[in-house]
């Protein structure tokens, strides 16, 4: 059987580094939507938060829905509707001291208030985005079909910010 190469949404895209900010694609691994039949189920994250369990993270993504990123589904299928989303999303990381300033131009939420372990479902320009606060910056999840657009929007802002800081 031929060996198919699974290409990530931004396959071959080199990281962008400018004025203390680094934008790069991240491999999210397995992404699974967990939609509990009863929202009061234990272990389900509170709104706008992430429950971490080793390498696996359960990220709140909306009313009655969380994304399990980078971990096995385990027992969730017994208490929730579980769907594989792995190929539907693109992951980006935006790290560095200026990351919050970059996102401030595209995301209508005050991201200075997010600490590690927090997340927000909001918009990046006109796109839907899940913002996860991580050490040193943010991880962003956008629809796979929007990956290039998201990169373009972010890269434009990063370059403009770099240019302004330089003059």
């Amino acid at each position: 059987m031929v060996n198919l190469i699974a290409k990530s949404p931004l396959w071959g895209q080199a990281p962008l580094v400018s004025a203390g900010v680094t934008l790069a694609e991240v491999d999210l691994g397995q992404v699974t939507s967990i939609a509990p039949f009863d929202m009061a189920v234990p272990g389900f994250p509170a709104p706008n938060t992430v429950v971490a369990d080793g390498a696996a993270r359960l990220v709140w993504t909306g009313r009655g829905q969380a994304f399990l990123i980078g971990g096995p589904v385990g027992d969730w299928a017994e208490v929730a509707a579980v769907t594989d989303q792995s190929d539907g999303w693109a992951g980006l990381s935006l790290l560095g001291a200026g990351a919050v300033d970059v996102l401030a131009r595209l995301v209508p939420v005050d991201l200075r208030r997010l600490a590690v372990g927090d997340c927000a479902r909001t918009q990046l320009g006109h796109m839907a985005v899940i913002v996860i606060a991580v050490a040193g910056g943010f991880e962003l999840l956008v629809f796979r079909s929007m990956a290039q657009t998201a990169w373009h929007e972010l890269a434009t802002v990063i370059k403009m910010r770099g240019a302004r800081l330089a003059c």
Partner: protein, 99 residues
């Protein structure tokens, strides 16, 4: 204008989709054409405090019942239509007290 989503917190108006007056929450009986007409078309259309339905489209996807002043755009209350319940029926009939 900013709307404080009970789940997501204070958010910009652009994240929300406006549907219309709370009249949409009253399901008319099938065959009652006056009630259906009122449900779909007729509005009090008040200049002042109203309650209308918004959807947190770019956020958590919750339907919200927003108490808002149409003259000042001041928002005084926001609750989830589903009031903790799930499913379309809970959306159609907000629980007593949730209002």
């Amino acid at each position: 204008m900013r709307i404080t989503c009970p789940l997501c917190g204070p958010r910009d108006r652009r994240e929300f989709y406006y549907y219309g007056s709370e009249d949409y929450l009253t399901q008319p009986a099938l065959g009652d054409f006056d009630a259906i007409d009122a449900h779909l078309h007729l509005r009090d259309n008040l200049a002042g405090e109203v309650r209308d339905l918004w959807y947190h489209e770019m956020g958590c996807a919750a339907w919200l019942l927003v108490t808002r002043n149409t003259v000042t755009h001041k928002i005084s209350d926001v609750v989830q239509v589903a009031g903790g319940g799930v499913g379309i029926l809970a959306k159609m009939k907000p629980e007593e007290g949730a209002l």
